[in-house]
C-alpha cells in the first residue's frame, strides 16, 4: 500500500524529470549516431562517424581546452575570493552590511544584462580599463580582440558573478562555528593566519566541497556573456563547449553533430560527478 502511495506521489515529478532530463540524455546519445537530415537529404545511420568528425574538428579541441582553462581560472579564484569576502563580512568590518550587499549584488543581476556593461570596461581606448590605464600612462589594449586575453577577460566577469554567491555558503558555515574556538586560540596567542589555516579552513571543508561542485557545474553552464562579449572569438579563443553546441545546433542547424558534442559534455559532467562523489565520501566526516 505504501509503495503505491509512494509512487503516486512521485509520479508527476518523475514524469517531468524523465521527460526533460533522462529521456533527452538517452535520445541525445542515440541521435549522435545518425547524420543530420534535411528535406533534401534524409538522415541515415553513421555509427561513430560523427565522433570521427569530432576528433578531426580543431574547433572542438580548442573549445575543450578553453573549458579546461576556464574551470582552472574561475573555480579556485572565485572560491578564494568568496572565502575572503565571507571572513570580512563576518568580522566587525565597518559598513559590513553595505559590503555584503555589494558582494552579493552580481548574483541577482542577469549575466546577459551586465555583459554590455562589461563590454564598456573592455573596449579599447574609450573603455573604462583603458581610460584608467591612460591615467597611468599605459598603452591601450585590445582586451577582447586579443586571443591571449579574451578568455581571461570572460573569466574575470564570471568570477565577479560567482564569488558573491559562494560567499553566502561560507558565511553560513562561519556563523555555525563555535566562537569558543576563536577565543581559545586568541588566549593561546595564535595569530589570525595560523587560526585560519589550522582551524577555520579545515572546518570549512564540507562547504568548500559543496561550493566546488557548484562551481564546476556552473563553469560548464555559464555561457550567456559570450553572446554579447565575444561570440566565442577571436577565432574561437573564448568559445566554450555549450556555446559551440548552441552555434552548431541553432546557427548551422546540424543537430546530429550538436548531439555528439552534447554527449561529450554529458560524459564530462558524469565523470565529474563520480570524482566529486568519491571526494565527498572520503573527506566529509559529519552527518
Amino acid at each position: 500500500m505504501k509503495t503505491v502511495y509512494g509512487w503516486l506521489l512521485l509520479t508527476p515529478a518523475a514524469l517531468l524529470l524523465a521527460g526533460f532530463t533522462h529521456y533527452p540524455a538517452v535520445a541525445t546519445l542515440w541521435d549522435s549516431l545518425f547524420s543530420t537530415g534535411t528535406v533534401v537529404r534524409p538522415s541515415r545511420f553513421v555509427g561513430l562517424g560523427n565522433y570521427a568528425s569530432l576528433a578531426d574538428d580543431p574547433i572542438f579541441w580548442q573549445v575543450l581546452g578553453n573549458n579546461f582553462w576556464f574551470a582552472v581560472g574561475t573555480i579556485p579564484t572565485s572560491m578564494a575570493i568568496a572565502m575572503l569576502m565571507a571572513i570580512w563580512v563576518n568580522d566587525r568590518l565597518p559598513a559590513r552590511a553595505l559590503a555584503r550587499m555589494a558582494y552579493f549584488t552580481p548574483t541577482v543581476l542577469p549575466m546577459i544584462a551586465v555583459a554590455n556593461l562589461w563590454l564598456f570596461f573592455y573596449t579599447p581606448q574609450i573603455g573604462l580599463l583603458d581610460q584608467i590605464g591612460t591615467l597611468f600612462g599605459l598603452a591601450s589594449h585590445n582586451w577582447l580582440g586579443d586571443p591571449h586575453t579574451a578568455l581571461a577577460c570572460t573569466m574575470a566577469m564570471v568570477v565577479w558573478k560567482e564569488a558573491g554567491f559562494f560567499m553566502i555558503f561560507y558565511l553560513a558555515a562561519l556563523q555555525s562555528l563555535a566562537p569558543e574556538l576563536e577565543e581559545a586560540a586568541k588566549m593561546e596567542g595564535a595569530s589570525r593566519w595560523y587560526f585560519f589555516r589550522r582551524v577555520t579552513f579545515p572546518l570549512l571543508m564540507p562547504t568548500t566541497l559543496f561550493v566546488l561542485v557548484n562551481a564546476t557545474i556552473n563553469s560548464f553552464k555559464l555561457v550567456d556573456h559570450l553572446f554579447i562579449l565575444t561570440k566565442g572569438g577571436p577565432d574561437n579563443a573564448s568559445s566554450l563547449l555549450l556555446y559551440y553546441i548552441y552555434q552548431v545546433a541553432f546557427s548551422f542547424f546540424d543537430t546530429s553533430y550538436a548531439s555528439t558534442l552534447t554527449v561529450v559534455l554529458l560524459v564530462l559532467l558524469a565523470g565529474l560527478a563520480v570524482v566529486q562523489f568519491q571526494l565527498v565520501e572520503r573527506r566529509v566526516h559529519y552527518r
Binding site: 591612460t134 580582440g145 572569438g233
Partner: protein, 424 residues
Amino acid sequence: MKRLFAVLLAAAFCAAAPARADTTLTFYYPIAVGGPLTKVIDGYARDFEKEHPGIKVNPIYAGNYDDARIKALAALKAGQPAQISVLYSIDLYELLEQDVIMPWDDVAATAEEKAWLKAFYPSLMMNGIYKGKVYGIPFQRSTIVMYWNKDAFKEAGLDPEKAPANWNEMAQMAAKLVKKDAAGNVTRWGVMVPSTGYPYWMFQAFARQNGHDLMNKDGNHTNYAHPDVIAALQYWRDLGAKHKVMPQGTVEWGTLRQEFTEGKTAMMWHTTGNLTAVKTTAKFPFGVAMLPASKQRGSPTGGGNFYLFKKTTPEERKASLAFVKWMTTPERAADWSIATGYVAVRPEAYETPKLKDYAAGFPQAVVARDQFRYATAELATFQTGRVRKLLDDAIQSALTGQKTPAEALKAAQAEADKLLKAYR
C-alpha cells in the same frame, strides 16, 4: 442534449464559413540598425491595411539577422504561420535546402508585376536569384562605405574634402593621421576596419577590390585561397602589423562607431546603415566615400530581402505580393532609406522629391548608391553558416597574428571544399 449539439454544430458551421475572407500575413523581420524602427514598420503595416481591406499584416520583430532566420525557420518547423519574412539576403541557400521558399516569379502574373521584378538595382538582385528565378526582393540593403573625420584630416595637413582613392593612398594618409601622446601611446588611429560581427563581409570588400569574388553563382564553390585573395588579407593585416595605422588584434564591430565619433580613429569602414547614427552623434564634420580601389573599386552588398514561404495558400501569396510591392514603391523605399540610412532599393526612389531634397542637403546619403556599380553579392553558399564561420575564423586568426594569411585561407578553403563537395 440533441438541441445543444445542433446549435453548436450550426455555430461551428457559421464560424467555419468565411464570411469576410481576411487573409493574415505574418512576417518576421530583423532590425539591424538601432532606432525606434519597429514603430515605422508597424506604421507601414497599418497604412497597408487601410488601403487593402481584407488583408491583415502582423509584423514580428525578431532581433538581428541570425535571430530572424532562426525564429522564422523554427516557426515554420513548429507549424506556426508565417507567409513572408525579411531575412538575410545570404540565407537563400539555407532556405532552399530546407525547401521552405518559392520564387516570386511564380506569383507575379501580370505584365506590370513582372516589370516590378526588374525595377531594382541589379547588384541588389544578385543575392536573390538562383537558377534564373527571383527568390529575394530587396528591402533593407546596404554596402560598406568609408567614413572620414574632416577635422582630423585638416589637423594632419590633408585636404579635408578628399578621401583616399586607393590602397596606397589610404595607408599613407592613415599614417599621417595617427596621433600619439607624450608617452608614445596611440591616441588616434588612422583607419579601423571591424573584424568581429561580420568579418567576412569586410573581407569581401578587400577581395573584390583586388579583383576577386569569394564564391560562385551556384553556391557550391568558394575562392578563399586564390593568390589575389590572400594578398587582400595580407593588406588588411599589414595595416595593423606593418603600417601600424590600425590596432592589432580584432576590431569590435559594436563599438567602432563610438570610437569614430569619439575621435579615436580618423577613418572607418562601416555599413551605410550607420549613417543616421553617425550624423546625429558626431560633433565634427565628416565625409562618406566609396571604398578605396586596388585593381578596382568594390564592396559587397548586405542586408535583408523579402522571401515568400512555400506553405502558403494562393490568397496568401497574392496578398504577400501586394504587400511587398506596396513596401517597395519608390516613395516608400525613399521613406525607409531616410529613416534608416539603408540604401533605397530602386533607382526611381532617388527621383522622388523627398529623397532628392534629402540628398541635396546631405550628399553623404547617395555615396552608397553610387557605389552600386562596383558592388558584388554578399558571401552565400550552401551550408552558409559553417562556410562563413570558416572564413571568419581564418580572418581573425590572420589579424591576430596566429597564422599567416596564406595558411589561414588555405586551411579554410580545404574545409569549405569538404563541406561543399556534396552539392556539386
